[in-house]
Symmetry: C2
Subunit: 142 residues, 2 copies
DNA sequence: CTAAAGCCTAGTAACGCAATAGGAAATATA
DNA sequence: TATATTTCCTATTGCGTTACTAGGCTTTAG
C-alpha cells in the first residue's frame, strides 16, 4: 500500500479545511466528527501538518486550525510526502536501500525510477482547490 | 511502500530466467546465488509463480525452472500483482475498504482511482523482454 | 540406490501501522 | 481570577504484515 490511513486522512482533512475556510478556525473536534475519524488519531496527523507550517493551530477557546495558504497552493504530493514520509514505490529509492550494491547492474531499477516519477508528477499536479466540491466555501446555495 | 521485496525479487528472477533461457532449466540454487537472495525465501516466491503457471518447475536431477512463455508475453504488472496480491495505492481500492460508506461523497476518491490507473497502465505496458540486457540470451559476446 | 532438485507446511522475529492514554500549556470569556 | 475549551506533547499498546528460517517429503536422472 503506497498511501496509508495517515496520508488519506491528512488529505481529507486538508480538503475539509479548504471547504470551510469561510468559517475561520475549525476545532479538531468538528473535523473529526465530520470526517468520522478518531479525535486522538487526528491529533497526530494535524500536529505533523502544523509542524510543517501547512496549517496553523491555535489553542484555547475559539481556537482551531486554518490553512496557511490558499488551497491552490497546496499539492496533493506535498501533503502525502509529508505525512507518509515518502512516496517511493520501492525501498530501493528510499534512503535505506539507496546505494544497493547491485544498482549499477540492476535491470529493474529504471522501472522503479520511472514509476516513482510518474506517481510524484501526477500527485504534484493535483492541487487542493481541485478537490473542493463546487458548492463549498460558500454558506449559501443558489 | 507499493512493492515489497517479494515483488522486487520476483521481477528480478523473471528477468534472470529470461536472460538465461538458452541454458534450459535453471535450478533455484543458481538463481539465488546469482541474485544474492536467500534460497529458502526464493522458494516461496517461485512457488507462487509456478502455481500461477508463469513458470514451470521440474524436480529431480537436471530439474529447475523455465519460463512458460516468451519474455515479451509477460508484463511487469501481472508479475507484481501476482506476487504482491494487489497494486492498489490505497486500501479504498482494495477489497477491504471497497464500499467505504463515504465513497459517494469522498472528494479524494478520484485521485486514488486516477493514480491506480496510472500505476497499473504503466506497469502493464512494460514487458519482460524490455528488461533483458542486450547481450544476454546468447552465450557469447561479439 | 542415490544425489539433486523442487514442493509443502509451519514457525518466528522484527517492524510499521492504527489507535489510545494522560496530562501540560495556552486562550477566551464570565 | 476561575473555568471551559482547545491545542500540544510524549508514550504505549495491540495487531497484522513482512522477511525469512526450519524440516521434511516427493520426484527424477544416472
Amino acid at each position: 500500500m503506497l498511501v496509508s490511513t495517515k496520508g488519506r486522512y491528512a488529505l481529507r482533512v486538508m480538503v475539509d479545511l479548504a471547504e470551510h475556510q469561510a468559517a475561520g478556525r475549525i476545532p479538531l473536534k468538528e473535523i473529526a466528527a465530520r470526517q468520522g475519524i478518531s479525535e486522538k488519531y487526528l491529533e497526530n496527523i494535524l500536529a505533523t501538518l502544523v509542524r510543517a507550517n501547512m496549517l496553523s493551530g491555535m489553542r484555547g477557546k475559539g481556537g482551531g486550525y486554518v490553512l496557511m495558504r490558499p488551497p491552490e497552493q497546496y499539492t496533493v504530493g506535498e501533503i502525502l510526502r509529508l505525512t507518509e514520509g515518502s512516496l517511493a514505490p520501492v525501498a530501493c529509492l528510499d534512503g535505506d536501500c539507496k546505494g544497493c550494491s547491485r544498482s549499477d547492474e540492476c535491470p529493474t531499477l529504471d522501472v522503479w525510477k520511472n514509476l516513482d516519477k510518474l506517481i510524484n508528477d501526477y500527485l504534484d499536479g493535483v492541487t487542493l482547490d481541485q478537490l473542493v466540491a463546487p458548492n463549498h466555501g460558500y454558506d449559501y446555495v443558489i
